[in-house]
Symmetry: C3
C-alpha cells in the first residue's frame, strides 16, 4: 500500500512563484495547523523553471520541496506541459494549434498542438529535467501528468495527416471508408487518400465525430507518453495521476467530451478529479456524487479529489458549514483526498477571482477556520473513513461516442436548448441521487453483471458487441432501463438501416419509425402527470407492456414508457425525456420492481455508504438543507462524530448543514 | 404540350448512391405501388460521376435510368454543379469563394465561386459528359440546372473586378458614380477606378446593395450559361427547370434575397420551387399558398413543386391527414407536381435528420401509406386537377432591391427584431390568405392592369418608371395599397431628396417629413384597436381621407391609414406596420371598397380555385383544423372526391384535415 | 476673451460635399433666419480635398468659407484625419490597424493605425495643406482636431513594439515587470524582452489593461501632435478643440473608455463634447447633465456641445418642445454652444437614418421651426446665459484605469449583465440629478478640497497617492462616499495583498475578506427596503457605524452601508450596488448629514444654476414631463423668458416641456 493510502490527503495547490512576497513558512505553518498534509505544485511553471531555451532555474522548486518536508507536507508534482513559455511559441510558432479559426495566439493555456514534434521534444526535456531535480525528495508522493489535458482542436496539416493515416489503416479499401461515412453525400466522396477533405470544413457528422475520437486518442497517447518518461524516475511508492475534469456549465456538469478518461487513466496508478460545484442555496451534493462516480469509474478504485473549490468564484462563496459538508461528501463517495484549488487567491491574471482558501490579504479567514476545524476533526477519525469500498447496485453506462453523436445530430437541431447527452445523463444521476440510490458509472467494455439495474441513457452510438452484451445481461436476469436515442447508430455514427432501436426490438419488445418534438405532451406515472421534453419517439409496443402512453390528441396511440420481460430479466424503455420530477417518478416505479428499495429518508437528507478498512459498514447521513432534519435512523452503529450509538429505528436529528457518520 | 403536362408529377428525389445496400427494385416497386411516376436524381453527385480529374464512372446513373424505365418512372436529371469534389478544391483552391471571413473551407455545398474560370471549365465538362450519358433515355423528361444556386458571397479580387467593370460601364463618369453612391461620406470617394474600395469592408449601404445586386445577376448568368449547354442535348419535349427556394426562418418564409428568380427563370421552360412549411398544430397552408404564388409568378404559368417535406425535420412530422392535405394544397395553387425530398432518410452526414418518406429502416411506414392512398386517389381524378388556370384579382408587388434596401437601412437599426421586408410582405400575404383572397406576386416590370387591387409593401427602392406605372394604374381605375417605407430611394438605394413618398404625394394625397418607432401607439379600424408595430411615418394627409390616425398623446395629429381618389382609381396608404389582426381588419375595410368580396367561410376553411383543362371551375375547400367544419357552400358542382353534388347554399361538412374538390 | 465667448454658438455640422445639388445659399439663409451663427465643417473630407495622392482640390472649402462669411456664419474647421481615402489604404495597407481579428478592411472610419508612420506623414500633409487654405478667413473661429479619435485597437508588431519599449522604460528590471503583472501565472513570464508575449492573445488582465492604457496615451499623443501642427497656423483668437464622446449604450452613457479625455484635452483651448440622449417619453435631461459634467471637467471651464441630435435616430424624434428644452439644458450645464449633428439628413451610406435638422427633402419642417423659435428667443437673452460659472458642492471621482480594471475583472464573470463601471457611475449621477443636486466630475489628480462631498464609485485601481489624498480630504473635514470594488488594485491592476479596502480600513473603519453575488438580499434605509444588486462585500464594520446590514438568513451579520468619523470628516462606504431608488434613499440619508440640503422641488422639475457674466445667479427650472408642474419657487428674481418677477416662496407654474430662467 502506498503512502497516501494511510492518511487522507488534505491540502491545496500551492504556488510559491505567484506569491507577492516570501511567506512560505507562514503558509506551511498555517497548513500544518489546519491538519493539512499535502500540497500540489508545479503544473504551470514551465517558464519559471526554463527561463530561456535550455536555461534552467529550479530554485523555487527546491525551496518548496525542502520547506514542505520541514513542515511535514507531502507533495504532488505536476509536469508543467499544459502552459508553454512565450519563448517556445516565438521560436516554434507551429506549437500553437491550428483550428478552423486559424492558429491560436499565445497566451492562454491548453492551446498547444500536442502532436507537434517540436513541442514534444521540448516537453520531454523539461519533464526529464524536473524529474531529475525531484530525485531524493522523500515527501514527493506522486506526479500529476500535465493538467486537464486538451487537444486544442488541433487540425494543422500535420495533425490531420496523422488522422488520415489512421483512417487508411482502419479502411484499407477506400470504398469502405466512403461507405462507412456516407461520403457520396454532397459530392464529398474521395477515390484517393490524397483528396481527403480538410476536416475543418466538413459537414459530415461521422467524419467530424471520427476526428474528435482521434483527438481524444491523441490525449490518451500523450498522457501515456508522459507516464513512460515520468515512470523512469519514480520509486515504487510514488504514484502517477492526473486531474480529470468535466464538461462545464458554470460548474462540473457531465462527462468530459474531449477526453476518453478511462483510456487515459490506464497509464496511471490512481485517478484524480477536479470537482467544482454550486454553492449557497444551490448546494446539494449532487455534483460531488456525480464526480465521485466518475472518479471511482476510472480505475475501479478509490480516487483523489485533486481540485475542488474553497471560495472559488464570487457566487460560490460557501455558507458556513458547507465546506465541511462538501469535504465529507467527497470522502463518502470514495475519495481519499480533498485538495483545494488553491491555497491563496492570486493577485493578477486570469483567475484572480477564482479565489482560494486565503483571500488576497493572505490572512486567516472564515474559510481557513472552517477547514482547520474540519482537518482536526477528520484526522481524529480518518482511519475509519479512508479507502472506503463502495458497491452500488445501479450502474449507468456512459459513452463519449454517443455524446459526440448527439452533438453532431441533436434531438432538435432547430432548438439551441435541445437536451444534450450530459443533460440526459445528469437528469438520471440526480434523480437517483436524491432518492438516495448510489450509482456507479460504467463504460461499454466494463463488466455489468454485478449490478441489479443498468441505466443506458441516449446510447446513440452502440456497437453490435455492446448491444449483444446488454441483451445477454437482461437475458441473464438483469434489469435494463434504456432511453430514447439509444441503439441508433454504429461506431462511425452511421444510422443503422433496420428497425429501430437497432437489434434491440426483441429485447425491448417494441420499435418505432417516427419521432418528433413534444409540444404540450404529458405522460402519467403512478397517477401523476409529467411533461415530455425535447424529444419523443413514437413507439409501438408490440410485445412490451406499455406503462405510459403520450397524452396528446394525435400521438396518444404511442408508448412513452414500456417494460418487457426478456429471458430472466426485464428491459425498460423510456422514449422521451422527463424532467427531474418525472424521472424521479419513473425510478420510484421501476426500482422496487427491480428489487431495489428506496430509503425512507430522502433529500435533503442524503445517505452514502461503504465498507471501511476495518471491514465495517460506514453510513454517512448528510443534511444539505439550512434547517434541522429529524427522523428515524435506518442503520445501526456509532456516530463517529458525536460518538452516540444508534439502533435502526432510533430517532435522530441533524442540524442544518451537519452530518452523522454511523459506523456499524 | 410536353409530357409532364399529361400527368401530375408525383414522386421524390432518389439517391441510389446513398443507399446502404442495393435495393433499387424494392424502392421503385414501392414507388409505383404508391402511384408515383417520377424521380429526381443526380444533383449533388459530381464526385460519384467524376471520381478523379477526368476519370468518369456513370454506372449508377445508367442503373437508375434503366431501372426507372422498367418501373415506368420518369426522371428529372440535375446537373451536379452545386457540390464540388474534394479533388477539384485541392487542385484549384480558388474555386472556393472568398468572403470578408476569408476563403471558405471545403465541405459544405454552395460555397463555390461561380465566377471562377477553373470552376466553370470543370463544371462545363461534367455537365456535357452527364448530358451525353443521358442521351437516348426516353424517360428523362427534364433537366434541373444546379440546385438552389448561390453566389456564396463571392468577393475575391477577381470577382470584385467583374463588379467594378460593370460599375465603370454604368457610370462612364466616375463623378456620377461618387454622386450616386454618396461616396464623399467618410472620405470614401474615389477619383480613379483603381482606387475602388474593397466592397467587403464598405459601410456604404448603396455600394453593398449594388454588390448584392451584382451577385444576384451572377446567378442569373450562371444558370443561363448552364441552360445553353444543356439545351444542346435536349429534345423538344424535354424541359429545363430549377428548384428555386425561399428566405428561411426554419421554413420557407419569404422571397429569396440572393436570387432574382424571375430573371433567372427566363432561360427555363418551367419554374420549380422548394416549399418547406410548418406542420402539426402550426400547419395552416399559408406557406404552400405563398410558395405557389412565387411559383406561378416566375413563368406566369403553372409550376413544379420539386421539393417538399415528407417527414422532414423532427418537429415537422405530420399528423395523419396533413400530407394528403398539403399535396392537394399545392395542386390547388397551380402546381403540376408534388415531389418529396426525399425518398429515403440518409444514414450519414448533414441531413440525416431531414427525413424522407421512408425512415432509416427503409420499410413502409405511416408516411408512405398516406402518400400511397393519396397517389391512388389523385390518379383517379388528375385530369380534372392538372394545369389549373388561376386568376386572382389581387397582386402584390415584390422587389429584391427593396428587400436589400431595408436590410441595409432597417426600420429601426437599434432593434434586432425590427420588421424586415419579408416580415412585412408575409403579413399581407397571410392576412389575404386567411380571408380566402388568393393573390399573385408581380415584379416591377410585370403588367398589373388586370388586377383589381395591387398591394405595394415597403417598396423602398422605387424607380421613377415604377412610380409612373403605379400612378398610371391608379389613374386608370386601379386600387393601390402602398405601405410605409415605399418610394423612399432610387435604384442605387439613394434616398430621394424631395418630399416623401417620392413623386407619390399627389397620387396618395399626403406627405411626411418625420417618422419614428411606435411605443404604445394604436390605430382603430372599424371600431377595433390594433397596435402600430416597428415603424411609423408621421403622415400629413393634406388631400387624402384619413381612415385612422395614431392614438397617442403626441402623435395623434398624424395619419396612419389614408385613402385618396386619384383619377379613376383609389390609392390607400398604410404608414405603419400592423400585426395579423390589424392587417386583416385593414383588408376587411378596403377590399369591399375595391369591389372584392370576402367569402363567408374563412380560415381554417380555405378556398382556392381555378379553371381546369376541361374549362370548368374547380373549387378546393380545405379544412386545416383538427375539428370538423360545417357550413353553407358558396359554389355549385360535384365533389370529385365524394362524388356528391352541391348547389350553392347547400350545407356541407368537412372532416378534420380533409377537403372537398368541387368541379362546376 | 475669444470671439465665441461673446455669443452662444448655435449651429450645425454642414457638409456641402454631401448635398445632392447646390443649395448653399438656401441652407445658409435658413440658418441665419433661425438665429444660427456657426457651422462645423471638413472633419471627414480627406478624399474630397486630396482626390489622389498629392492632388488637391479645395474648391468646396473656399465656397463654404466664403458663403458662410457672406451669411454671417462662423466656422469650426475639422482636420479630416479620422477617415482616410481609399487610395491611401491601397498604397499603404499598413495604415489600417491590425487587431486579434487581423487587419481591418477599408471602409469604416476610425480604423486607422494612428501610430503608423505613413499615415502620420500623409495626415500631416493634408492638415498643413488644409490649414494653409484656411488662412485669411476671419470667420474661422476654431479648429477641431480629428473626430472622436480612436486607436482602433491597433496591435501590429510595430505598435506593440512601441508598447514594449514603454514597458522596458517603466521596468528597467524585467523581474519587476514579471512581478507587477504576475506573469509566472500560466507560464507567461519572460526573461528577455524579445520574448514579450503578443498582447492580442494575453489572458493577463493587467497586461491587457496596460495595453489599453497605452492606446489611450497614443490618442493623447496623436491629438497633441495635431495640435502642434495646427497651432502654427492659428491666430490668437482661434481656438483648438475636439469633440469628445462617451461610452455608448444606444446613447451617450458613461465616460469614454478608449480616451483619457482630461489628458487629451490638455493641448486644447476649449473642450467639446458630443451628447446624444434618449427622447420622447425617456427624455429626462440626465444625459445632458452627465455630459455637461464631463464637458466642464476637461478644462475646468465652460465647454462646447459640438454635436447633439436634431432628429437623430428614428426612436429619438423629439416631441414638440423637447429640442428647446434640451438646448437650454445644455446651456444650464455650462455649455457655450449648441450644435447639431447635422444640418441635413444624408441620402446615402452609413448614417442615412441618423437624421439632421432637415429631413431628406431638405425643406423646413417642425424640427427646423422649433429650433428657429429657440434661436430667436435665446439671442434675446444670451448675454445673461453665456459663460455660466458653476460650483457644485458634490464631486464624483472618475477613473479610466478602474473602468478597465472592472472590465478585465467584472463583479460577476459568469453574468453578462454584471454591472460595469459606467453602470455604477451613472446610478449615482442620475440619483443626484433627480434630487436636484448638481455634481462635478473630477480625476485622480484634481483638487477636491472645495467639495462638501466626494463620491468614489468603484475605484478599483487606486494608487497609494490617491488613497492618501482621499484620506487627507476626510481628515480635513470632507465627506467621502466610497463604494464596493474601490481600493482593490494598484496602477497595474494587481490586487493589493493586504486587508481590503487597501489602506482605507482605518479611514472607513471596516474591512472585508469575502464577497459574493447577492440573491434575494435586501437592505433597509430609513425604513424602506431595497435589493442589493450584482455584487456584495461581506463587510465587518469594526469601528464604523453600520447604517444597514444585509437582510439575508446567512449574510445578515455583515454590513452593507457604514459611516465612520475620521479626523474632521466622515467616510461612508456602500458595499453593494443599489438601484436608482436605493441609491436615492442612500443619498437622501447621507446628504443632509454632510450639510447638503435637498431641494423641495424634484424631478421632473429640474433645477440647475450658476453665476452669469453679470455676476448674477441664474436658476433654470425645467419641466421634463408632459404635464404642467406647479409649486412654490425656491429662489428670487426675474424669469428671463416671461419677464415675471418672483420672490422665494411664490407660487409658480411651468407648462409641459417648458422652463423658467430666473435671474437674481
Amino acid at each position: 500500500m502506498m503512502f497516501y493510502k494511510d492518511q487522507i490527503l488534505f491540502g491545496a495547490a500551492y504556488y510559491d512563484e505567484y506569491m507577492p512576497y516570501d511567506r512560505i513558512d507562514t503558509d506551511f505553518k498555517m497548513m500544518k495547523d489546519a491538519g493539512m498534509n499535502v500540497i500540489r505544485i508545479a503544473e504551470s511553471t514551465w517558464s519559471t523553471w526554463e527561463i530561456e531555451d535550455g536555461v534552467f532555474d529550479f530554485t523555487k522548486l527546491h525551496k518548496m520541496l525542502t520547506k514542505a518536508n520541514e513542515y511535514g507536507l507531502k507533495v504532488i508534482i505536476g509536469t508543467p506541459t499544459y502552459a508553454i513559455p512565450s519563448w517556445l511559441a516565438k521560436k516554434y510558432p507551429e506549437v500553437l494549434a491550428v483550428t478552423a479559426s486559424g492558429r491560436h495566439l499565445y497566451g492562454h493555456r491548453q492551446l498547444t498542438d500536442i502532436t507537434n514534434p517540436d513541442y514534444l521534444r521540448y516537453a520531454e526535456r523539461i519533464i526529464r529535467r524536473l524529474m531529475e531535480e525531484c530525485r531524493g525528495y522523500d515527501n514527493i508522493i506522486g506526479v500529476q501528468l500535465d493538467n486537464e489535458t486538451r487537444s486544442a482542436g488541433a487540425a494543422s496539416e500535420a495533425t490531420q495527416a496523422l488522422f488520415v493515416a489512421q483512417m487508411m489503416k482502419k479502411y484499407p479499401d477506400i470504398e469502405d471508408f466512403n461507405q462507412a461515412f456516407g461520403l457520396d453525400y454532397w459530392s464529398n466522396r474521395i477515390s484517393r487518400w490524397e483528396d481527403f477533405p480538410d476536416v475543418r470544413g466538413t459537414i459530415n457528422g461521422s467524419l467530424s465525430a471520427a476526428y474528435k475520437y482521434f483527438l481524444r486518442n491523441v490525449i490518451t497517447e500523450f498522457l501515456e507518453w508522459q507516464s513512460k518518461i515520468v515512470r523512469e524516475y519514480l520509486t515504487d511508492d510514488q504514484f502517477i495521476t492526473h486531474n480529470f475534469d468535466f464538461s462545464w456549465i458554470d460548474y462540473s456538469y457531465g462527462i468530459q467530451p474531449e477526453v476518453n478518461q478511462q483510456d487515459a487513466a490506464r497509464c496511471m496508478d490512481v485517478a484524480g478529479v477536479d470537482i467544482y460545484h454550486l454553492s449557497q442555496d444551490r448546494f446539494d451534493g449532487s455534483t460531488i456524487a456525480f464526480g465521485g462516480s466518475v472518479g471511482r469509474s476510472l480505475k475501479k478504485d478509490n480516487y483523489l479529489v485533486l481540485e475542488t473549490q474553497a471560495q472559488g468564484r464570487a457566487n460560490w462563496v460557501p455558507y458556513p458549514g458547507q465546506l465541511r459538508l462538501a469535504a465529507y461528501s467527497h470522502l463518502a463517495s470514495g475519495a481519499d483526498s480533498v485538495m483545494y484549488w488553491h491555497w491563496h487567491s492570486i493577485h493578477n491574471s486570469f483567475e484572480t477571482y477564482w479565489k482560494g482558501i486565503l483571500s488576497h490579504d493572505l490572512k486567516p479567514n472564515e474559510i481557513y477556520n472552517e477547514l482547520s476545524a474540519f482537518g482536526r476533526e477528520m484526522r481524529s477519525i480518518e482511519s475509519h473513513l479512508i479507502n472506503l469500498t463502495k458497491s452500488p447496485s445501479v450502474a449507468i453506462l456512459v459513452d463519449n461516442r454517443s455524446l459526440t453523436g448527439l452533438n453532431e445530430f441533436p434531438c432538435d437541431d432547430t432548438d439551441p436548448n435541445t437536451p444534450d447527452y450530459n443533460k440526459i445523463l445528469r437528469t438520471f444521476c440526480d434523480a437517483l441521487y436524491k432518492l438516495n440510490i448510489e450509482y456507479d458509472l460504467v463504460y461499454k467494455d466494463d463488466p455489468i453483471e454485478k449490478y441489479t439495474l443498468v441505466l443506458v441513457p441516449a446510447l446513440y452510438s452502440a456497437t453490435e458487441d455492446t448491444i449483444a452484451r446488454l441483451k445477454a445481461y437482461v437475458q441473464g436476469g438483469g434489469h435494463l432501463l434504456a432511453t430514447f436515442k439509444s441503439f441508433v447508430a454504429d461506431e462511425e455514427i452511421k444510422v443503422y438501416h433496420d428497425l429501430q432501436p437497432h437489434n434491440m426490438t426483441d429485447c425491448l419488445g417494441l420499435s418505432y419509425q417516427l419521432f418528433t418534438i413534444p409540444r404540450d405532451v404529458t405522460i402519467t406515472i403512478d397517477g401523476n402527470s409529467y411533461p415530455a421534453q425535447g424529444f419523443m419517439e413514437l413507439v409501438t409496443a408490440a410485445e412490451a407492456d406499455s406503462i405510459a402512453c403520450y397524452e396528446h390528441p394525435i400521438w396518444k396511440k404511442y408508448s412513452a414508457l414500456t417494460a418487457h420481460k426478456y429471458g430472466e430479466g426485464t428491459a425498460y424503455y423510456l422514449a422521451t425525456l422527463l424532467g427531474h420530477d418525472g424521472s424521479t417518478a419513473l425510478l420510484r416505479h421501476i426500482l422496487p420492481e427491480c428489487g431495489i428499495s428506496i430509503p425512507k429518508n430522502l433529500y435533503p437528507l442524503i445517505i452514502k455508504s461503504g465498507i471501511n478498512q476495518l471491514g465495517r459498514k460506514v453510513t454517512y447521513m448528510f443534511n444539505y438543507s439550512t434547517a434541522k432534519i429529524s427522523g428515524q435512523i435506518s442503520c445501526s452503529g456509532r456516530d463517529l462524530l458525536s460518538k452516540k450509538v444508534y439502533t435502526e429505528g432510533d430517532p435522530f436529528e441533524i442540524e442544518a448543514l451537519d452530518l452523522m457518520i454511523v459506523e456499524e
